[in-house]
C-alpha cells in the first residue's frame, strides 16, 4: 500500500485576522469570514480536496427492520478502481457503536438493521461513480422483521424489542424497553385543582417530523497520517464530542485523531450526531489514502437525525376570570431506531411543557419511543418546540371558551421573574412574557389586500399560491394569531457543561494582536464575530485573529441549545480577563515604580493602552509587552451547576437560563384551495444583551422562518406500513423560499440576566418555538378550523384528507 506523503489538503482553514478600531461588544461588527464567503473562497467540508484522494460511499439498508442474512462484497471488491469495501466484520476495535448519550448506534449494521437507510457497508474508490457502481454490486440478503412504528406497536405485549438487553442508565427506570426515557413532572394536585376550573379544554396535537435541511451536506476528508493516526476535516457542531465517539471505534487514542473544523453549511442540530466521520476514517486507515465523503441530498435525509415527531395530549382548566387552574399533559415523542438526543428531548418537553405560564398544579409525562422509524434527535428548540405548538393551541382554545382576547388571556397567566416552574425551579432573572406579547400586538397591522397595491390588477406574487396563479383574490381570508414560548439555554439536568478558550496576546510589528483559539463550531451563527468583539472589549486591541477550531484546544461544548455565545463567548471573556491580569502584572513589574496608579487604581485595557478608570494612560500595550513572551492562556468556563430532574416528581433546578420570544402572524389563506401566504411574522424577544445586533436579528429571522416552514410545508413523510421515508429530496421535502417568507419585523429587548456574561441570554432557538403556533393560530383565525397537526396541508383546510 502506497504510503501517503502528508500534505495539507486544499481547503484547510487558516487564521483569519480582523482589524477593527471599533468593534467591541454591542457593535454590529461584520463577520470576519464574510469576504471569504462572498468570494467563494471559504472552504466548506465538501470543498476539501487532496491529491490522490479516494471517494467514500455508504451503502444503506433498503428496508427498515430486517435481519441481515448475508453480505457478499466480492464482486464489488473485484472492480477496477475500488480500493476497499468494509462491513461490520472489518471494524478494527472492540468498540463498534457510538452515540451521544447512549452508545446504541452501530457504525455499520451488525446482523440487523433497525431503520430505513442504516449504513451497512462502505466503499472507497477512485471516483464517486466507481464507488456507486461498486455499491450496487454488494449483495445483501435481508429477512424482514415485524415493524415497530408507533406507541401501540412499541408497547404491544409481543412487540419486538428494538434494543435487546439494554444496560444504559435509563434502562432501569423506563416502563418498557422500547421507551428510551420517561420523565414525569408532578407539582401540586391536579385532581383538586380541576374542581376549581370553570372551563376545561382538551386537545390532541400531532407534530410532524421536521428536517434540519441545512444546505451544506454531510461531508469531510480523512487523511491518514504517518503515526498511524488520522487527520479529519469535517463540519460538525461539537468537535470533542465527535472525537470521544470516533477514537474508540478506530482503536486509536484521542490524540491520534486530529480534528479540524471545516466550513459548516448550517447545522440546526443535525450535526450533533456523527454522520460520515468514522466511515471516512475507517476507509482512510484501511487504504492508506485520503478519503472524501460527500452525501448528496438524498443521502443527507438518511445521514442525520430529524426533529422528533410527537403526539401530545393536553388538558387545561381555567377559572371564569381567566386564571389557569391546572395542566395535565402527555407527550409521546418518536425517537426512531437509536437514542441520539432523545433523553434530553424528553427532559425539555416535560420540564417546559407548561409553557411560560403560571400554573401551580401540573402533571406532565413525556416519553421517547424506540421504533423502526428514522432516528430523531437534536433540532433547534428540541422538545420545547413540540410542546409550544400544543400549549399555545390550548391557550387559544381556553381564551375562546372564556370569550377573552387570546393575548390578554396569555398576559393574565404570563410568568415573570420569581415564578416557580413546574419543576420547582425559580425563574430568577427577567421573564418579560407579557411585555413581549404586548409589543407584537401593539405593532401596526400590515395593509390589507397588498396584492392590489400595484394598482393594475392582482400581483399573484403577493397572494397564496404565488407564481402558480391560483387566485386573484378569490377565497382569500386574512387571519391573525399570537404565540409565545419558553426555551432553556445551555445543557441542563446536571450535565457538566463547560467551554474552553485559549487567548494569546502578543505584539506583532509594533501592534498588539489578540488571537482567540477555541473549538467552537462556527456553523453560521456568527460566534467568530462575537469572539473578536469580546477580545477587543476586554483587551483593548483592534486586531484579533481567529484561530481555526480544532481539537488542539479544549472542548467548547456544542453549538446548540442556544449556548455558544453564553458559554464560549463567556470562556473567551473569562480567558481575556486572565490575560488582562497578566498584562497588568507585567506592567506593574516593569512600570509600577514610575506611577502609583499601577498599584492603586482600577486598570483597564483600552485603545491599545493601559488606562486608569479615570482615563489616565499609563502605558501602551506594545510597551508593556515589549520583550515579553506572548501571553498564552487556556481556561475553562462553566455556567452555574444544574441538577437532574427527579425521576418520579420531575422536581429540580434543572435549567441554567430561560429565554422567551413572542410572535404575531398575519396570514392570508385561500380557503377554497387551502393555500397559505404568510403576510407578516412579527416577533419580539428578550436577548439580555445584544452583543451584535445584526447577528441577533439574523438569528431571530432565521429561526422564525424554520418555524414557519414546519407550520405550512415541512414534513418528512414516513410510510406507516414500511417505515420507509417517502420524500427524501428537496423536490418533495419543501422548505420556504423567499416568496414564502414574509417580512419579519424584530423587536429586541435587552433585560440583563445577572448570572450570564454581559447579561446576555441565549437566543437562537426561542424564535423557532413560537412562530409555528402563531402561524397555526392565524390560519385557525382565518378559517375557523381546529387544525391540530403540523404542517397544515391544503387537504386539512379543504376537508379532502
Amino acid at each position: 500500500m502506497a504510503q501517503n506523503t502528508r500534505t495539507v489538503p486544499a481547503g484547510t482553514p487558516t487564521n483569519v485576522t480582523q482589524n477593527h478600531t471599533k468593534g467591541g461588544i454591542g457593535e454590529s461588527t461584520l463577520r470576519p469570514d464574510g469576504t471569504l464567503k462572498v468570494t467563494g473562497e471559504f472552504a466548506y467540508s465538501s470543498d476539501m480536496w487532496h491529491e490522490d484522494m479516494l471517494w467514500g460511499q455508504t451503502l444503506r439498508s433498503t428496508v427498515a427492520h430486517a435481519e441481515i442474512v448475508s453480505i457478499d462484497v466480492s464482486e464489488a471488491l473485484a472492480m477496477s478502481g475500488v480500493y476497499a469495501v468494509l462491513t461490520y466484520d472489518d471494524l478494527p476495535a472492540e468498540t463498534k457503536n457510538y452515540g451521544l448519550e447512549i452508545q446504541d448506534t452501530p457504525v455499520l449494521a451488525h446482523g440487523r438493521v433497525r431503520h430505513h437507510g442504516e449504513p451497512v457497508a462502505l466503499i472507497a474508490a477512485d471516483h464517486p461513480e466507481t464507488a456507486r457502481r461498486a455499491a450496487a454490486k454488494v449483495r445483501i440478503e435481508y429477512k424482514e422483521l415485524p415493524l415497530v412504528t408507533d406507541e401501540a406497536s412499541a408497547l404491544a405485549p409481543d412487540a419486538p424489542l428494538i434494543h435487546e438487553g439494554r444496560d444504559d442508565h435509563h434502562a432501569g427506570h423506563v416502563p418498557h424497553p422500547n421507551i428510551v426515557h420517561r420523565q414525569p413532572i408532578v407539582r401540586g394536585n391536579v385532581e383538586e385543582a380541576r374542581k376549581r376550573a370553570d372551563v376545561i379544554v382538551e386537545g390532541e396535537y400531532v407534530f410532524g417530523m421536521q428536517d434540519q435541511a441545512f444546505l451544506g451536506p454531510e461531508s469531510g476528508l480523512a487523511v491518514p497520517a504517518e503515526d498511524g493516526g488520522v487527520d479529519l476535516y469535517v463540519a460538525t457542531q461539537w468537535l470533542h464530542s465527535d472525537l470521544r465517539q470516533i477514537a474508540p471505534v478506530l482503536g486509536l487514542p484521542e490524540e491520534k485523531v486530529r480534528m479540524t473544523l471545516s466550513g459548516v453549511g448550517g447545522a440546526f442540530g443535525g450535526r450533533e450526531d456523527l454522520s460520515m466521520q468514522i466511515h471516512a476514517c475507517l476507509l482512510a486507515l484501511r487504504t492508506g489514502k485520503p478519503v472524501k465523503i460527500v452525501y448528496n441530498r438524498f443521502e443527507s435525509f438518511f445521514g442525520h437525525v430529524h426533529r422528533h415527531p410527537a403526539k401530545l395530549h393536553y388538558e387545561h382548566g381555567a377559572t371564569k376570570d381567566g386564571k389557569l387552574t391546572h395542566l395535565k399533559a402527555r407527550i409521546v415523542l418518536d425517537g426512531g431506531a437509536y437514542a441520539s438526543a432523545s433523553p434530553a428531548v424528553v427532559g425539555n418537553a416535560s420540564s417546559l411543557g407548561a409553557g411560560p405560564y403560571v400554573v401551580d398544579d401540573v402533571e406532565i409525562e413525556a416519553v421517547a419511543l424506540y421504533t423502526n422509524n428514522p432516528p430523531c434527535g437534536a433540532m433547534r428548540g428540541f422538545g420545547a418546540v413540540q410542546a409550544c405548538f400544543a400549549y399555545e393551541a390550548q391557550m387559544d382554545k381556553l381564551a375562546a371558551k372564556l370569550g377573552m382576547d387570546p393575548v390578554e388571556f396569555r398576559q393574565i397567566n404570563a410568568m415573570e421573574q420569581g415564578t416557580l416552574m413546574p419543576t420547582g425551579q425559580v425563574v430568577d432573572s427577567p421573564a418579560p412574557v407579557a411585555e413581549l406579547l404586548r409589543r407584537v400586538k401593539a405593532r401596526p397591522m400590515p395593509p390589507e389586500r397588498q396584492w392590489e397595491s400595484a394598482g393594475e390588477g392582482a400581483d399573484v406574487r403577493a397572494l397564496p399560491g404565488g407564481l402558480s396563479n391560483t387566485t386573484h383574490g378569490e377565497g382569500v381570508v386574512r387571519g391573525v394569531g399570537y404565540a409565545v414560548g419558553i426555551k432553556n439555554v445551555g445543557f441542563s439536568e446536571g450535565f457538566d457543561d463547560y467551554s474552553t478558550a485559549r487567548v494569546v496576546l502578543q505584539v506583532i510589528n509594533g501592534e498588539p494582536v489578540a488571537m482567540v483559539h477555541t473549538a467552537m463550531a462556527e456553523v453560521g451563527q456568527g460566534g467568530v464575530t462575537v469572539h473578536a468583539q469580546i477580545a477587543r472589549t476586554e483587551l483593548g486591541v483592534t486586531q484579533v485573529t481567529i484561530h481555526p477550531a480544532d481539537t488542539q484546544v479544549g472542548s467548547a461544548g456544542s453549538t446548540s441549545a442556544s449556548r455558544q455565545t453564553y458559554m464560549t463567548g463567556g470562556a473567551v471573556k473569562n480567558t481575556c480577563e486572565a490575560v488582562r491580569e497578566k498584562v497588568l502584572e507585567i506592567g506593574r513589574r516593569k512600570n509600577g515604580s514610575y506611577h502609583p496608579a499601577w498599584a492603586t487604581a482600577e486598570l483597564l485595557l483600552e485603545g491599545g493602552k493601559v488606562v486608569t478608570d479615570g482615563g489616565e494612560v499609563l502605558a501602551t500595550l506594545a510597551d508593556v509587552l515589549e520583550g515579553e513572551d506572548p501571553i498564552d492562556l487556556e481556561l475553562e468556563f462553566r455556567h452555574r451547576p444544574t441538577v437532574p430532574f427527579d425521576l418520579v416528581t420531575g422536581q429540580g433546578d434543572g435549567h441554567v437560563q430561560y429565554t422567551f420570544a413572542a410572535h404575531r402572524a398575519v396570514v392570508e389563506v385561500d380557503t377554497e384551495l387551502g393555500l397559505v401566504k404568510v403576510v407578516e411574522l412579527a416577533t419580539a424577544q428578550d436577548v439580555g444583551k445584544a452583543l451584535n445586533m445584526l447577528s441577533v436579528v439574523g438569528q431571530i429571522q432565521g429561526g422564525t422562518t424554520q418555524g414557519l416552514g414546519v407550520a405550512v410545508m415541512e414534513e418528512i413523510i414516513v410510510d406507516p406500513k414500511t417505515a420507509k421515508v417517502r420524500n427524501p429530496s428537496f423536490t418533495d421535502y419543501l422548505i420556504p423560499t423567499i416568496l414564502d417568507t414574509p417580512t419579519i419585523p424584530v423587536d429586541v429587548l435587552e433585560l440583563a440576566d445577572p448570572n450570564a456574561p454581559y447579561g446576555l441570554r441565549g437566543l437562537g432557538e426561542a424564535p423557532t418555538l413560537s412562530s409555528t403556533p402563531a402561524v397555526l393560530a392565524a390560519i385557525r383565525n382565518a378559517t375557523g378550523l381546529e387544525l391540530n397537526k403540523t404542517p397544515v396541508r391544503p387537504e386539512a383546510l379543504t376537508g379532502t384528507l
Binding site: 400581483d459 396563479n469 391560483t470 377565497g475 377554497e672 405550512v712 419543501l734 379543504t798 379532502t800
Partner: protein, 296 residues
C-alpha cells in the same frame, strides 16, 4: 456512458437512429437529476444544445412554431400575446434558473403527468412535430401522451418543433403546489377560449395517469355558451353553468394519493381552478379583464 454531441439536426437524427436507447438531453433539468441521484445510467447521452433550430421559434399565421428547446424564460418574455396559456404555465416552472434551461420538448419527452406545459398545450391545441431518419410526422397533442411517463415517440424519433395554435381568445393557467414558488404541481389546470370556433378547450395536469382534457366539461360549456348566446351577448356566465363546468372538470380527473397530495384534494382543486379560470377568461373576453402583474 457515451456522450454524443451532434452539431446538426441531421447528425442528431442519425445518432438517434444508430443508438435508439440514447437519451436526449437539452436543458438537462430532468435527465441530470436522474443521473445525479443514480436513478438512471443511459448508455448514451445525446446532447441537443448545439442544434440551433431547436432554440428558435417563429410566429406564423395560425401557429407558433416553437423549437423543442426554447427555454421557458423566452416563452414568458416573447410569446405572451400569442401563447398566453403557455406563457403563464412557463412562469410556474420551477425556478428562474430552471426556466432558463428547460423547454417544452423536455416536458413532452419526459411526459410526466406533472409537467407544467401539458395543460396549456392541451387547452391551446397543438401538434408535436417529431422526426427520425425515416422522416417526420405530426402528432396531435391529444394523441401524444400514451401512459404514465410514456409518449407516442418511436425509439428513433426526436421532438423537433411544437406547433401551437395562436391564441384567438383569452387563456389561463394555474397550478397548485404547497409552496409559493419552485414547486412541482400537485395538480394543474389550463383553459382556453377559442372565440373563432366558439369552443373552449381544457387541460388537466397531475390528476390522471397522463395529462388530459376534460372533454365532457368542454362539451357542456360549448353547448351552454351557445344556448345562452353568451358568445354574442357577452353576459356574465351564470354560477350554475360555472359550477357544472367545474364539477365536470373535477370529475374528469382520475388522480391518485401520493406524497404530494390526496386524490380527493386534487379532484377538488381542479374544480376550483376550473371555476376561477372560467371567470377570469370570460371577464377578459368581455373586455373588462385586467392584466396580471407578475403573472406572466
Amino acid at each position: 456512458m457515451d456522450f454524443l454531441r451532434p452539431a446538426s439536426w441531421e447528425e442528431a437524427l442519425a445518432a438517434k437512429a444508430e443508438h435508439p436507447t440514447a437519451v436526449p438531453i437539452a436543458g438537462g433539468t430532468d435527465v441530470m437529476v436522474e443521473i445525479n441521484f443514480d436513478h438512471r445510467r443511459p448508455e448514451y447521452l445525446l446532447d441537443l444544445n448545439r442544434i440551433e433550430l431547436l432554440s428558435e421559434w417563429e410566429v406564423g399565421e395560425e401557429n407558433v412554431r416553437l423549437g423543442a428547446s426554447v427555454p421557458y424564460t423566452r416563452i414568458m418574455e416573447n410569446l405572451r400575446a400569442e401563447l398566453p396559456g403557455l406563457a403563464l404555465a412557463s412562469h410556474t416552472v420551477a425556478s428562474p434558473q430552471i426556466r432558463n434551461r428547460g423547454g417544452v420538448g423536455g416536458n413532452l419527452g419526459t411526459a410526466s403527468p406533472a409537467g407544467d406545459a401539458h395543460p396549456a398545450l392541451l387547452a391551446a391545441g397543438a401538434e408535436v412535430e417529431v422526426e427520425s431518419v425515416r422522416g417526420s410526422r405530426f402528432i396531435p397533442i391529444d394523441a401524444f401522451y400514451t401512459g404514465v411517463k410514456r409518449n407516442a415517440l418511436e425509439p428513433d424519433e426526436l421532438i423537433k418543433t411544437v406547433h401551437i395554435k395562436k391564441a384567438d381568445g383569452p387563456q389561463q393557467y394555474s397550478k397548485v403546489g404547497t409552496r409559493n414558488a419552485m414547486v412541482i404541481a400537485v395538480c394543474a389546470f389550463g383553459l382556453a377560449l377559442h372565440p373563432e370556433t366558439r369552443t373552449v378547450r381544457t387541460g388537466i395536469g397531475s390528476a390522471a395517469p397522463t395529462p388530459i382534457r376534460a372533454k365532457e366539461a368542454e362539451a357542456f360549456l360549448n353547448a351552454a355558451l351557445e344556448e345562452g348566446g353568451f358568445w354574442d351577448n357577452g353576459k356574465i356566465i351564470t354560477p350554475s353553468i360555472a359550477k357544472q363546468f367545474a364539477d365536470l372538470c373535477s370529475g374528469a380527473a382520475n388522480p391518485i394519493d401520493d406524497v404530494r397530495g390526496t386524490a380527493k384534494y386534487r379532484r377538488h382543486a381542479v374544480g376550483i381552478m376550473a371555476r376561477r379560470q372560467l371567470g377570469w377568461v370570460w371577464e377578459q373576453y368581455r373586455g373588462t379583464g385586467r392584466t396580471l402583474e407578475g403573472a406572466a
